[in-house]
Structures are given as C-alpha cells and as structure tokens.
Symmetry: C2
C-alpha cells in the first residue's frame, strides 16, 4: 500500500477513539439487550454533526441479518447524501429473525432519526450477538432519546459494541500537512465468528478529511482486503459483518489534493491494520497473535489464500497454544490451500527460526523454539519460491477457553 511517495508522518494513538476526528459525537446506553437485568452498555450511536460522505462494506454471507439488510438499503441511497449516523447494539445479532427482525431494524433507525432530526435513511444500523432471537426493540427504543452524545463519547461507543471481547479495539491517527492537520479513527468489535469476507466484523471509521463517496468506497475496499479480510479467528463468517466509514471534511483538508489523499490513505490503512491485528490478538480465548506472511507466491490471490489457510488451521492454532514447534502443520496447511505448490522450493520460518529449507527439514533447537513460541506474537513466514507476490494474514491460537466460551454462549 505504501508505495514510494513522500508520506506525511502519522501520529498513532492506540487509545484514540471515533470522536477524535472533528465534527463527530457519540454516546452509549444500556437497554439490557441480553435480558440479564444488568446495566452493561449495549446500545451506541455515532453521529456526524455535519452531512458527510459514507462508504459501507457488508458480509458476503448468503444469509444476511435483518439489520444488515436494512443498513444496505440505507447505505445504497443515491449520492451525494450519505449516512450521517449509525446505531449499534450488542447482545443480539437480529439475524434469522424473519419479518419482525426487519421491522425492528427499521425502528432502530427511525428512533435515531427522530431524536437527531434526520431522515431515517441517513441512519445506519448494526447488530452483533446471538442469532435467531427477537430483539428487545422496546427497550432499545426507550434508551435512545435520552442518550448523551459528546466529543468524548467514542470510548463508550467502542465499549458498547463488545460481545465476548475482553477489551475495546480502537485507534486514532493524525497527520499534518503544513499548518493543517486531519485525523482518521476507528473502532471494531471482534472476538468470535470472525472470518471476514469482503466486509468484516462490525467496524466503524471516522475521518475529518473531505473524501468523495466514490473514492472513499474504493479506498476502503482496497484497504479492507489487506487488513480486515486477512483476519481469521474461527473461519466462521458472520451474517452481521459490517464496515462503515464516515468522512465529514471538518478538518478543512480534502483528498482532492494529492498529498492529502496520500496521507489519508496511509492513515486509513494504519487504522484498519491496527484494528485487524487487535481483533486477531483478542480472538476468543486467544493467548497469542499469529502473523502469517507469505512471500514469493505466484500471484497475490495465491499469497492471500496460503496465508489465510495457515492462519486458520486448527492444528497450527492448537500447536501455537501449546508452544509446540510442530511446523509440519504449516506445510500441510499450505498444501491444502488450493494453490499449486512445489515443496522443493518451499521454506518456512517458524517464530523467526528457519525450520524447513527448500523442501528439506532442518535440525532445530527445540527448547529455543519453544521459548520463542512463548511470545505474545508469533510470526510464521512461508517462502513459496514461485514468484513475487506477498500477503499477510492474522489469526490467534486455539485454546480450551475458546471452546468454553462458545459451548455456552447463549446462556
């Protein structure tokens, strides 16, 4: 992505949130969506005070949630008017909920529109949680009108969209050009049912750069392909995957200037990459972030497939949980990726150690390799020896905790 061009330096705040860019406010409340009777934050709103351009990517699942169906309708409104706000709930995906689910998702946008003085079609909607249960729509509708939206509300927003996440995933990036500065920020919901396909898990990105909707969509798609779409936690693409991006121009900088466009795209990629890595690192039950790099692949698609297949292999994931230097599983996973390979040209570095070289196993210092596997981040690099293409995928180890979390999710 970062070709040879003079790039504006980025300042990254890993605790920054979606209301760091100018002109955005957010807030969250508790509607007891799960019905547990607790006060957990589970409904959130993000809003641009000024009209803005927006871009949206959604799950490629053949079974889209009711919420996604309504959000698609609203996002596909004729330009130039884009989405200006989004309401999100956690605890219930509003998926496989039939006609009532569609009515409930529409109602969520209507109550936000009434509160903020918008057209309902200017409001996006996203839901995450259990599939196949009716939404407690009255409780959600009740909490919206009194919700306080503010310039510091982004942190609460990131918190309210979590399900089994152990921590919020958010980041803000700022760049300066001359006397002017601008920002891109984002937050995401991760953890389980993570295997994005075009869209991603729930993720929301804001920027105060002015970007035309068409460019925003194109750049978001390209960036998502190299970031969100290279994350796998469990291979299960969700019917709810949604990625929304809002660009309101409040900084005064516009992507019509090439250096702003370049800096914006760098910042966008930094935000998406940070969120993608955060999702993998906080995969359900995960103890390790796994970064898989494929190099010298025959083409980009082959590089992506091999990297994703290795990152998603249950046997590789289990081995890394156990700090087991069982690198043969990496070769085996590459072999089933559906890409023609020549084993005699393959080499593998496992946790930074060359273990397989042009088709031959090398003697390994097993205690040292086990030690390297104890790091919170484990890298796997596979040189296919066949071409020039490269790709990176992120995953996490498979642990007994993953099973515990998912064996008892609805209760």
């Amino acid at each position: 992505m970062t070709a040879a061009r003079p790039a504006a330096p980025l300042v990254v705040d890993p605790a920054g949130h979606v209301t760091v860019p100018l002109g955005f406010v957010a807030g969250a409340g508790s509607a007891d969506v799960r019905g547990h009777g607790d006060a957990r934050l589970d409904v959130a709103i993000l809003y641009s005070r000024e009209p803005c351009a927006s871009a949206a990517l959604f799950t490629r699942s053949a079974v889209r949630s009711a919420t996604v169906q309504v959000c698609v309708e609203h996002a596909q409104r004729p330009a130039p008017s884009g989405l200006r706000a989004v309401i999100v709930n956690s605890g219930n995906a509003n998926a496989s909920t039939g006609p009532q689910g569609l009515a409930d998702a529409r109602r969520m946008t209507e109550v936000v529109a009434a509160t903020l003085g918008l057209d309902p079609r200017e409001v996006g909607v996203a839901s995450t949680g259990v599939i196949g249960r009716p939404l407690p729509i009255e409780r959600i509708a009740t909490v919206v009108p009194g919700m306080k939206l503010s310039r510091v509300g982004g942190a609460r927003f990131a918190q309210a969209i979590m399900t089994t996440d152990t921590r919020p995933k958010q980041v803000a990036v700022e760049f300066s050009l001359g006397d002017a500065s601008a920002r891109v920020a984002g937050c995401a919901k991760g953890s389980g049912m993570i295997h994005p396909d075009l869209g991603t898990t729930l993720a929301f990105i804001t920027t105060d750069v002015a970007v035309p909707a068409n460019d925003l969509r194109r750049w978001l798609t390209e960036t998502a392909d190299d970031t969100f779409n290279m994350v796998t936690v469990d291979g299960d693409t969700s019917p709810s995957d949604t990625l929304l991006c809002f660009a309101n121009g409040a900084s005064g900088l516009s992507s019509s200037e090439p250096d702003v466009a370049a800096a914006f795209r760098d910042a966008l990629e930094a935000v998406c990459r940070h969120l993608a890595r955060s999702i993998a690192a906080d995969g359900e039950g995960a103890g390790h972030l796994i970064e898989v790099r494929t190099v010298r692949a025959p083409d980009r698609e082959a590089a992506r497939r091999v990297a994703r297949t290795i990152a998603g292999s249950m046997l590789v994931k289990s081995a890394i949980h156990g700090r087991d230097p069982n690198w043969g599983r990496v070769v085996a996973a590459a072999g089933r990726a559906g890409v023609p390979l020549v084993e005699e040209r393959m080499s593998v570095d496992f946790a930074g150690v060359r273990v397989f070289d042009c088709g031959r196993p090398l003697p390994i210092d097993e205690p040292a390799l086990r030690q390297a596997l104890a790091a919170p981040e484990v890298s796997i690099s596979v040189d296919l020896g066949l071409g020039e293409a490269a790709a990176t995928a992120w995953g996490c180890d498979l642990t007994p905790e993953y099973v515990h979390i998912n064996a008892d999710y609805t209760t």
Copy 2:
C-alpha cells in the same frame, strides 16, 4: 447409491477386520517409530496371497508426503497387475522429509517385497503421524522380515495404524447369493487432521469378490465421495490421505455378474459409511457424532457444500459440545458455504426439533432441546427449499480435549 434394485441382504460385523475376506493375511509389529522406547504396534502389513486388482485414492493436497508419492508411483503401474500388499507405519508421516523421505518410503516397499517374494512395485506404502521428521527406517526395516502374517492379523493391523485414535475403526460385511458368499471389509485411521479431499485418511479395504481394476476404481471413487469425503474433524486435509482397496476374487464371485456387482457396491458403501462415521465419532477429543443432512438443495454440489460447512463450523461444534441450543450458528454456517440461499425458504431441525421454519425462528423448549443434545449422536437437518438434491456430512463436537491433544502432539 442404493437405487431400486433387489439387493442381497448384508450381514454386518462391526468388529470384523480386513482379513475376514478370503485370501488376505495381515500382521503388525513394533518398531518404536515414535522413539519413546515402548512396544506399541506401529508397523503393519496387509497381503493378498493371490494376485489381485487394486484401486487407490490419494490426498489432493499440493504437498504430498514422501510416502504418498511412492505409493502413487506403485499404484499407477500398468494394469492388470495391481498392488498386492501394503506396509503402513504410524507415529511418523514421512512428510516434508525431502529426498531422504522418498528413499525411506521406497525402502519400506523393498523390504516387504524381499520378505514376501514380490516386486517392490506390487507393494503400497502409507504413513501417518508427525510431519517433518526423518523416519527411523532401520528400525522399521528390521521388524518386517520377522512379522507373522495370518488370517486373524487384521485386528492387529487396525490397531497398529492408530495415532490419537481411541479405538480401532474396522468393519466386515458379508452377502450371500445362492450358495455362494463374499465379503468386503475395511479399517481406517482417523482422529485428527481429518478433512478428506478425494482421498481420505488412511483406509484399507479388502474384498474376495473379483472386480476389474477399472470398475473398482470407479466404484471406490463414487463411494468415497459420499462417505469419507463427507467427514470433517478439523478442516485440515492431510498430506498423507490414502485409500487403498484390494479385490482378489477368492470367493469365486465376480462383479461381471450384475447381482454380484450390485451386492458388492452395497457392501462397499456399507463399509465406507461405517468407517466414515467411526472416524467422525472418534474425532480427537470428540464427545458427540454430528450428522448433518441437507435436503431440497438446488444441486448435489450445493447440498454437499452446505452440509460440510455446517459439520465443520467451529461455532456449531462448540455449541454441541456445550449442549447449547444455539441453532443460529447452523444458519450462519450455511450462509457462508458459498451457495446462493433464500433464508425465507430455509428450515432447520436441530437434534430432531424444528427450530427455524421458512425463515422464522420458532419458540423452543430449551430444557428439552438441551436434553436432546446430550445424546452421543446429534442430527442437524437443513431444508433449503430450493430443489431436490440432498447430502449427508459427519463431524464431531469441538472440545477442550481437542486442543489439549493438539497443543502437545509432537512431544
């Protein structure tokens, strides 16, 4: 498979083994392949005393083990002379082992050939276990000449090919036509790295029916597609998958007679189905066999994809481990199978209970459903409402034990 034709009744012996068909002998020994210094059976030989027809299917992985490469060479000899014997070791896959691995695999066939007075190219070879470690070839070569092969050796053969299997997987089937009778038997190695693609895990099938090699290969391929290739334990296709079938005609019955051919094919399918279900039921750490049935799919490939995707979903597998009636994950898995679906036409039965009907969730009796999920075999049925095609896939639940087993496999 069983079209409307008068079928000879099958007598099934779930403890029957590969030397039940006439003319086959087998044996096993201990070569301490794992290097643990124990006397575990880990090398086995199966042999037809008379020349026989054979058919072989192998992994579609782009990275085939050295053992598979040698077995492919030998299996592809010009007809009519087929394989007559096979040597198998567990504890080491002889995969990703470079040129030495190829030499070792050839040596295994040579030592069997010398002992039995065969051409090495009449001997197949199969290996299962850890990837990327040199085979202790001298210990294997030493154990072969003294190995006792007998008519009751099939049980030891089935035992010797196990890795993390908790029990041998074998079955024998007999059918009678008039005064004559014939048999088909098989055994398989299952448990982990199970997601067959064309071939399967290690499986060996014997019959004393005379079947020409071409028919044997065609019928084996068709049967494997509906049985072994519909099993998934962890989505990881192995570089070692091998399915060998031997037909020696010792019963005096020949598939050139249509009623024998029909009975043989029924028996072959019964054997493969039994082994496929046994592999799923004994998946690593598994507590439940999961049988997924797709009906009214637009075509057979769609039916197969949806069934396999559901059976392989980590979230579905985790839910069943936890007896969690979280059927929404079934719909979500179907949605990401890469098949166009219409949710309004979909219905789902979960453990025999209709939970989703033409796109609408039904109220469920959760305690009763939890009770149904306690059974050792859990059925999931998905009606796509789009056509006439159907398919069945088998899988198992995902448990903390799976992770424990695979987190510490090489040690």
